[in-house]
Amino acid sequence: MSKVIIALGNDISTDDIYPGRFMATVLPSETPQFAFFDRTEFNAQLKAKAFAPGSIIVGGENFGCGSSREQACSTLKGHDVAVVARSIARIFLQNSINLGLQVVICPGIEATEGDELEITADQVLNRTTGKAFDQVKLPAARKGIMDAGGLIPYTRARLMARA
């Protein structure tokens, strides 16, 4: 079980997750400090490692919309959090799969900060409210990338197969 550390609304943009003014920082080892930077308190909690690994950010519709900046995924992965959202914007979803950030699409999810969630193979169980919500499976086409542990090892294997 994992705790919901923040419950956000619809259309959370990658500018919100990782403001543009920090885009010159690219290394996954350096991006975590800027996660949700303009949500000052939340950013401070993340940096202070106030949350257990695997803690969950809950989002509404269209989570991760906007810019293709991959820092928005590496910054969250660096804090070892997962995202459960009603829907996820295309590029953010793909970047998450490519980098191995855990994302769960859960159209009916109802959860507030502090709730305990359990992510099963096909559902998200809110242990605090006792409600269960179905997941939408990630595209089957992405399974190879996920099984390989991300797009870099996947691409490396494809490259070696050609050589």
């Binding site: 259309d11 943009s13 500018d15 919100d16 403001p19 543009g20 003014r21 885009m23 010159a24 920082t25 690219v26 290394l27 303009d38 519709e61 269209n62 919309c65 906007g66 810019s67 293709s68 900046r69 991959e70 995924c73 829907s87 914007a89 295309r90 590029i91 793909q94 970047n95 490519n98 980098l99 595209p139 089957a140 086409a141 992405r142 190879g144 990338i145 991300g150 797009l151 870099i152 996947y154 691409t155 490396r156 494809r158 490259l159 070696m160 050609r162 050589a163």
Partner: protein, 428 residues
């Protein structure tokens, strides 16, 4: 069942007789574009080759384009060092479609690609920028990807595991009223579809209004298709596409265009008549928060921005200059202009447009992304309001989380610069 334009393009690029929605394909990439985030792509690309015993090799350097635009000239030693690293990589790997910080061939990636004829109808184009959707204006299937996915493209020359997207057909008819144009059309459409209404889908544009529209206008509407969540916007190549590529981009070889089949399958059809459309404004802090200008007219603005990959082309600057000529930017309002490319800047100089804008009080800056994404210049002060021809108004977008950004056409921006408040250019 026939195929849409994108289905035809993907079938060709994947070497298949036909594809349908949901099929998983691995299209060959015709053009792969990055800007300063090539610094991250390079890291990921080198990591792909680690432990393989293979020397890092780009599958085809002639198909890579790298354009510096997000922070030009560099605003910090960090950016300058990223740019330096990219220059070294470009030289080492023989990348020829490289546009450095220059006053002759520099500019914003989404202007440089069409301007130099790098994009052709029927191409599969990927870019590490969400506004890569722009190049659908030339009949290409063009979409944004992340840096790691680009590293995969550089290594393999294909986009791996692409699901064939469904297509929404957008049919546009009618003649634009005075002071209303392509930007108003796309803002209206985004308001109608919502910010995720086209998520994972393609917007294919048709109708008499699109046929008559210049490539500049088509670039604006395809550019902002991503703001409705679309994977790509696309205008099937036609006579205007050929005119643009021949006359403006100097392409001499054959240019085959791809048209959809008459019985192509669309998941949805949207019809818009622009003959009664008013100037549109996207209000803070979402691009689908769209209202006709009269509903927000009178809102005080401290910063006007004209430029970006959406509206920094010659016709945009001309429209602004026509309104500002002989007038003055209001006291308490500053106006910043960013031509989309050096070529456009030079043409605007030759035509006296830059002179007109400067005489009115506008600051004309070098070509680049400027203040659009809040990384470089033109940041807002606390609680300041901007009115901008750019494409996003998310909270904090222009560098200050307490600022507000309204999005509009160049005509609205110019009329509002004179009054210092959001102004209907039809009444200005």
């Amino acid at each position: 069942m026939g195929m849409t334009v994108v289905e035809k393009i993907l079938a060709r690029a994947a070497g298949l007789p036909s594809v349908k929605v949901g099929d998983v394909v691995e299209p060959k990439v015709d053009l792969a574009m990055s800007h300063e985030n090539a610094a991250l792509v390079i890291n990921q690309f080198l990591e792909v080759f680690q432990g393989t015993g293979l020397a890092p090799k780009i599958w085809d350097p002639s198909r890579i384009a790298i354009i510096f635009d997000h922070r030009v000239p560099a605003e910090s030693p960090k950016t300058a060092t990223n740019q330096k690293k990219i220059r070294g990589f470009v030289a080492e790997h023989g990348i020829t479609k490289f546009h450095d910080v220059r006053g002759d061939v520099g500019g914003i990636c989404h202007q440089i690609l069409p301007e130099y004829g790098y994009v052709r109808p029927g191409y599969v184009v990927v870019g590490t920028d969400s506004h890569t959707t722009s190049h659908g204006a030339l009949g290409a299937f063009s979409f944004g990807i992340g840096a790691t996915e680009m590293a995969s493209v550089w290594s393999l020359g294909i986009a791996v595991n692409i699901e064939v997207p469904a297509t929404i057909k957008v049919v546009v008819k009618g003649e634009f009223p005075p002071m209303v144009g392509p930007k108003d059309l796309i803002l209206h459409l985004i308001g109608k579809l919502t910010a995720q209404g086209a998520n994972y889908k393609v917007l294919e544009f048709h109708g008499e209004t699109i046929r008559k529209m210049s490539t500049s206008g088509r670039l604006a509407i395809c550019n902002m298709s991503v703001e409705a969540g679309a994977t790509s916007g696309i205008v099937p190549g036609d006579a205007e596409t050929l005119r643009y590529l021949r006359e403006e981009a100097g392409v001499t070889e054959a240019i085959p265009c791809v048209a959809p089949d008459a019985d192509a399958d669309y998941c949805q059809t949207v019809e818009i008549d622009v003959s009664t459309l008013a100037p549109q404004i996207a209000c803070p802090h979402m691009v689908d928060h769209v209202k006709p200008v009269d509903q927000v007219a009178g809102t005080k603005v401290q910063q006007i921005v004209i430029g970006s990959c959406t509206n920094g082309r010659l016709d945009d600057l001309e429209a602004a200059a026509a309104i500002l000529r002989g007038k003055k930017v209001a006291e308490g309002t500053r106006m910043l202009v960013f031509p989309a490319s050096s070529k456009i800047f030079a043409k605007a100089l030759d035509k006296g447009i830059v002179h007109d804008l400067m005489k009115a009080g506008a600051v004309v800056m070098n070509s680049g992304c400027g203040p659009c994404l809040g990384v470089h210049e033109g940041a807002l002060g606390d609680h300041e309001v901007a009115l901008s021809t750019t494409n996003r108004n998310f909270k904090g977008r222009m560098g200050n989380p307490t600022g507000e950004v309204y999005l509009c056409s160049p005509a609205v921006a110019a009329a509002s610069a004179i009054t210092g408040v959001i102004t209907d250019p039809r009444k200005g």
